[in-house]
Structures are given as C-alpha cells and as structure tokens.
Symmetry: C2
Subunit: 283 residues, 2 copies
C-alpha cells in the first residue's frame, strides 16, 4: 500500500456545495449493465463506494443512514412481518431490518447485482444477514417488483435508492408510489430517503405531493446527520395510508439489538421538525 | 457580476474529509494583525467568510450554529443577565443572546476588529443588535478579558471561537477555563463550540477533561447540523460548576422571538446523545 494520498471531491450541482475525502487508492471498479461502481480506500472513513461518481456510502458513517431508514418505521408499525426494500443493494438496510425478530420476511430488490457483489467484497459487515433464512435477495427492477406485488401483502416498503436521476428516477413518482400503496396493508408504512432538509426542501415537498396523489395521507420527515451526502444532513420520509407516527417507544427502549445512532430518544427527537422545516412543509 | 463559477474546497486534515462551495467571485479580503479574512460570493449559500482559509460561516446556514451556541444555555440558566461572548466577532451569537429580554448586558470580546468590520459589511443581518444599549463590543484578547473579569460576576460565558489552532488555541485549555470558572457565578454556564461529534470525539473528551481540571463538574454536549463545518455535524458543549442541564422548557416554548432551528423540542432532542456518542463520552 502506498502512503500517497489524494483528495476526491464530489460536486453537488443542485446544492452548490461539495464533499470530499482523502483517499489512498482505488480498490476496485466494475461497469455493470446499469452503472459504474468504484471502491476507494480512504485514510479516515474506511472504504468508499461511488456509483456513477456519486458517493453512496463509507465504512465509517453508513450506520447513520441504515439505522434511520429502518428502525423508525419498524418501531412505528405495530407488528411488521413482511418488509420490502427497493434498492438497498449494499445490504445495510436489510441487516438492520432483520435485527427485528418479529420480521418474518425481508425482500431486497435491487436492479444491480454488482452493487451487492461489491458490498460483499468491500463492506462485508453490511452483508452479515444475507444468509438469514428470512432474507430474499432479488436482482430485478424494483418498479416492476412493486407493481406485481400481491395487494395488501406488505407491512413496510423501504425505498433505499440513489438520487432521483438515472436508474432511480422512476422511484420518486406517483406511478411507483401507487404500486407501493396497493402492495401495502392498510396500516403499512412507506419509507423513502428524502435528501437534505436544508437545501432540498422543495424535493421533499414534491415527493410528498406525489405520494399524496398515490393515496398516502400522512407524512413525517425525520432528519439525521449523514456526512457523506450533500450538506451532511439527510432525511427519511415516512408515509401512511392513514394514521400517525406515534412509535412503540417502550419496545424501542427495550430493543434487544445494538445500534450506534438510533435510540428511542433519537427517534423522539427526529419526529419534531426544526421550525424552518416545519414551516416549509406546512406542519 | 460574472456568471463564471469555480469550486472552492477546504480540506480538513484531522477529519480526512473536505467541504466545498460553488463560488462566483471574491468580494473582499483583508490581512488583519491576526489573520487573513476573505469574503466570497457563492451561488447557493450567500456570502462566505473564510479565516486563514478555513470556512467560518455562510449566509445560508449560520443560523444553526448561532442559535445552538446561545439558546440552549440561555434557556438552561434560571435567569441569565450578564453574558460574555469570547470570540464571536461576526456578531451572530450576540444577536441571538440579545433576543432574550432578561439579558441586561452582553459583552462580545473578539481579538480581531476586522472580523466585525467584515461582518458589518457582508453579513449585516448578523449585526442587527450591535447598537443595542445592552451590547458592548470589545476588540481585545479574550484570554486576558476572562482572567481580569470580576469573580462571580458572569452568568454565561460563550466561547465562540475558531478551531483550537492559531489565535484560538489558548481558549481550549485548563488555564482559560479556570478564568471562566472564577468569573462565573455558582450557577453559571460555560458554552464552548466542540467540533464534530462523529470524528472529533477525542477532542470533546480532551476539552471536557481540561474543563474538569478547572473545576467544572457537569457537562452536556449538544449536537446539531452545520453543513459548513467538517462532517456537517457539529456540537456545543455546556459545562457547569454543579447541577444539571434541565432547561426552562415552558419558557422556551413561550419564547417571544423567532428562531429557525432552535425550539423547545429541538433542545430536548439535542440533550440526548446518540448511543455511540454517549458511550465514547461515558454518559
């Protein structure tokens, strides 16, 4: 290993800001049928995965995103048994979901098998639960998967996708959300990564608008820190057909698994939007 | 104004990460006796102030830092009347402090008058309260100011400094904290910006250690998003001679001024450290 280092920067055109990492070398790369995947080694953040030049995750900080994309929804639903993850090929969300012993089945449907192969190789800790008998890994089109899901069969759909450009564009519109609405039971929950609450509030509003057109009536956007994404401040938006977002706080406090960022108190705190976010979202 | 843009990156050596902004032009610069101050215009973040190449604030996101450096302490102290701000030359913290009508006097002591002159010119909104009769702006050595403060005369000391290198290095050690301890009343509160809770936990522990050697016995580190600082996730550490950090929640809920990020609920949420932070800090 060389001790030479270089800085890799990613410019976020929509935000007018950039984030960079000090890297030591490129570890791997593959051009899949869908996208170009690169793995870098960094001095302080472990390994980095980039897809089409965009930072997807680092060894060091991915726990923030994966925990907040899963546990708030799983501790809000009364009894989640069937979970579908659309995207999520790095398997980190799947691992968190399967920490809930009540989950009987978790399907991960990512269009790009190479993302999972790279995760197995360079982020093996995220793939700890891939052989769990409750896990089903599909490499297929998430839009088609949701459209073909049996109506009323799913408790939670987690859309763990890249940004709404390229392969993931179709995961942010009314047609896709209608499929989710149909597949979810009446008390089901849809979770969507929803970008930065500081600079991309318009996108969150637009996303909620599309979810609303598909029939969802209640929404909650939970912010959390995520250093490797634009502004370092990210969010997950939860949507339901009806009902609120009171969570199973006692269960969350008594949870039998470890988490690094998520806790019942963090969950409680994330439920309350800062004034400027609440105002923008009309809460 | 030209429509050409360029990207300005700042590498954070200790964190191994970088943050950048798309800028349109340099608006101003001055070499003061202490440091080199630059002002840039950005496409999405308003104006930027850099000191010795390090990002200090942007028009768009400084409210996060200024609100969280002031309101949590002011709503924790039972009746804060005398507040001292060490550093804080951009006057944003002073403005937030003076929103509290019970404050009778707020001294801002920054060693570098040029920081305030640049703020008046390029961030005038932060200087709204500079002519408040309760405000006293000093341009002097904050270490000497605290050392010479009348014992037991101050309710809250806010150390709104740059990082612990260069002019601000002396604001992060036992000797300085001893001066703060002496100047504070028994129920006083010390507030110090305490870097990123994700990558600089060692610094927070070290800082608390120095505060402890100076006599402070209780500590609380409040995290908050701050996109323009390393990792986009920052913190303020509060220290007291004795007693806890229960805040005047009813007063915070009934506050008579606007804030964009701070609220009683945000305050409540920030009091609870995520599990990995609590573990590292031994909370």
């Amino acid at each position: 290993m060389t001790t030479d280092t270089t800085w890799h920067y990613e410019n976020f055109e929509r935000a007018g800001s950039a984030i960079g990492y000090r890297i030591t070398r490129k570890l791997d790369e593959v051009q899949s049928p869908f996208q170009f995947i690169e793995i870098y080694e960094s001095t302080d953040w472990g390994n980095l995965m980039l897809i089409d030049g965009a930072m997807m995750l680092t060894t060091r900080d991915n726990f923030l995103y994966h925990e907040m994309m899963s546990h708030p929804a799983l501790f809000t639903h009364a009894n989640p048994k069937n979970v579908v993850i659309i995207g999520g090929g790095d398997c980190g969300t799947l691992r968190e979901v399967l920490k809930h012993k009540g989950v009987e089945k978790a399907v991960q449907c990512d269009i790009d098998e190479q993302v999972t192969r790279m995760a197995e190789k360079w982020f093996p800790e995220l793939c700890d639960s891939n052989n769990d008998p409750r896990a089903e890994l599909l490499f297929d089109d998430g839009i088609a998967y949701m459209a073909n899901c049996a109506p009323g069969s799913v408790d939670i759909v987690i859309v763990d996708s890249t940004d709404p450009v390229g392969p993931a564009e179709g995961l942010f519109n009314k047609a896709f959300y209608e499929s989710c609405f149909k597949a979810l039971k009446d008390d089901g929950i849809l979770v969507q990564q929803s970008e930065s609450p500081l600079v991309l509030l318009d996108l969150i509003k637009e996303m909620r608008g599309e979810m609303g057109k598909a029939g969802f009536t209640t929404f909650k956007t939970l912010p959390f820190p995520q250093p490797c994404y634009p502004t370092g401040w990210w969010s997950a938006t939860l949507a339901r057909k009806a009902g609120g977002f009171t969570f199973r706080e006692a269960d969350a406090r008594a949870k039998l698994f470890d988490s690094k960022y998520y806790s019942a108190d963090i969950h409680q705190g994330a439920l309350v939007a800062p004034p400027f976010v609440a105002a923008a979202l009309g809460e």
